[in-house]
Subunit: 340 residues, 2 copies
DNA sequence: TTGAAAGCGCTAACAG
DNA sequence: CTGTTAGCGCTTTCAA
């Protein structure tokens, strides 16, 4: 006993067979297809298995069967609240179909993501890319070698579910407009993010339509820390309201404004994106865009498990679009109302 | 083409062998032990492998080798900010030793946790229990069949790293005492949590020493939602300050106090536990206990990878204790100072 | 330096 | 209903 108790070597199927006095194939059947073996023999096998504390080796099983029952979910940053509901949605849906969730953090890096995907190989039956940082080419390459569903991006024929933010972005502009704002700044996110681009499009279009001045500032990394720089830049731009790429920077901005003695929403209005954990209890509570990420993940998961079905039973849905909505709170408006 | 492009079947090692005109064993050597094969042959193998886009099947490899290079991290709830730094710390340390992180959410359930652990089987070389909900017996049972390190709990000889909160809990009581409080409530967490018990012990002891009245309220589930009930109960108890089992309930309490028109910290002081994401920008910012979870996870990870080493090279550290500290913010104090 | 062959633990024909 | 056998893809003796 070196440091911990010596690990008892795992019993294999042939240990069980030996103890039960049957062939390994019988053990296999008795355990996974109880109907196809006699009651008495099955009993003996079950007893032997229990006695030896037998648990099948999933590696061997998967190697043989060509299926693992595992689905991978790749997330750029599992600690980013935006992805929480994706994790949850995927998990719930997976549990429902008896699959195992393999959660992978890709550290916001395309390299790591690709690496993970390659290493995954046959370890998982398929993967869901929660917010891929890969190039279209890379996505296609991967999609050629394993079942894939991507969220918030469309590339080629790869099954995907996207959350459409553009109409809500227009709503946000209208909301700000109705409050009297005529100059709005958009705090942009990473250039690699495809959703960042479409958000800006929607804002610009809405701005033109309403004759509101819109300026794009950034790009900034989507973190709370970037908020300070973003806040200062916004002030410089002369805008009286801003829409941030995500809640993290929006919250960072709130803090910076407060530190500089600027009052939100009296002096400036702030709109975030994502409605993350914390958006409702920061000060003031953040007006933000709420995405149905949980539902998106559920649908994506269904699409994937569907691909894993035998050809016939397929659902054949390979594309879905979900709308967002605006959640109005204290960070926009004429002045914060302190009721409730 | 049914719905997506047909997946190209993965090339195996024998495909490569065939194309390169060598035996499979040579391919294996050329790829994983380049030194032990002639330059020319290696070249040919590498070319063939590249041509076929060959990637080794990790399942087969692991089955043969008996090692997977994968370490599992089990977390009761990956969306609970308290665990963020564990995930990060484990990930960083794992990457450093070339291992793959298998992140598992156990949904706060002992059943799921056990199930995951069994299913894991030989899929992972070992596991780290971030905050197990298992009974001592169950932990021991698992520890007998796979390398394990547990965080924030000690059971038998199982390697573990615990974060010691008790001295900081005393500090919290002293802090509150020095602000003039003479009646403090402790909002307790789930009965199953072993750390909850030791926190209460420390508080009670400190209370006796300083002649401060301490009452235990609860237990409450450690969520934001429980905050309302906890806040009301605290008010009823007549305490002028409270220490919450964790930040989530503390934040919930803050909201409830605000809703009831009670001013923090003027009317009542609130201390949280964990210093989660959000604790600094809630309103008012929360005084809380900060845990070195990232460091704990790193150490736990080292302990585990250490167990996986050949007998000789071991570090032989099987137990560690880390201290917490108090982070004082606006939710305690005579009155909130609005500088900075 | 390389090839042939065995085997990791399991399941799926195919006989019996 | 059950045993025998082959083989999933890989590494590793053991010979050559």
């Amino acid at each position: 006993m070196t440091q911990q108790d010596a690990l008892t070597p795992r019993a294999t199927i042939s240990d069980v067979a030996l103890l039960a006095g049957v062939a390994t194939s019988t053990v296999s059947r008795a355990l996974s297809n109880p109907g196809r073996v006699q009651g008495a023999t099955r009993k003996r096998v079950e007893l032997a298995a229990a006695e030896l504390n037998y648990l099948p080796n999933p590696l061997a099983k998967s190697l043989r069967m060509g299926r693992t029952g595992v689905v991978a979910l790749l997330i750029p940053d599992v600690t980013n609240p935006f992805y929480f509901d994706m994790v949850r949605g995927n998990q719930a849906q997976l549990r429902a179909s008896g699959c195992f969730q393999l959660l992978c953090d890709t550290d916001e890096s395309p390299e790591v993501e690709m690496q993970v995907l390659q290493r995954l190989g046959k370890t998982a039956d398929g993967a869901i890319l929660g917010a891929t940082r890969l190039s279209d080419e890379q996505v296609l390459e991967v999609a050629g070698s394993m079942p894939l569903v991507i969220i918030n991006r469309t590339v080629g024929q790869v099954p995907s579910v996207v959350i459409d933010t553009s109409s809500t972005m227009s709503q946000a502009v209208e909301h700000l407009y109705s409050l009297g704002h005529r100059h709005i700044a958009y705090i942009s996110g990473p250039a690699t993010s495809s959703s960042a681009a479409s958000r800006w499009d929607a804002i610009e279009t809405a701005g033109r339509r309403l004759d509101v001045d819109v300026t794009k500032i950034g790009p900034f990394t989507p973190t709370e820390m970037s908020g300070a720089a973003a806040a200062d830049a916004t002030l410089n731009s002369g805008a009286t309201a801003c829409i941030a790429f995500n809640d993290l920077v929006a919250i960072g901005m709130l803090r910076r404004f407060s530190a500089r003695g600027i009052c939100v929403p009296t002096d400036i209005s702030v709109v975030g994106c994502d409605d993350i954990f914390g958006a409702d209890f920061c000060n003031p509570p953040l007006t933000t865009m709420t995405s149905p990420t949980q539902q998106a993940a559920r649908i994506a998961t269904m699409m994937l498990t569907d691909q894993l079905q035998p050809e016939g039973a397929r659902y054949a849905r390979t594309r879905a679009t979900l709308p967002t909505h605006l959640t109005i709170r204290g960070s926009t408006g004429p002045a914060q109302i302190s009721s409730e």
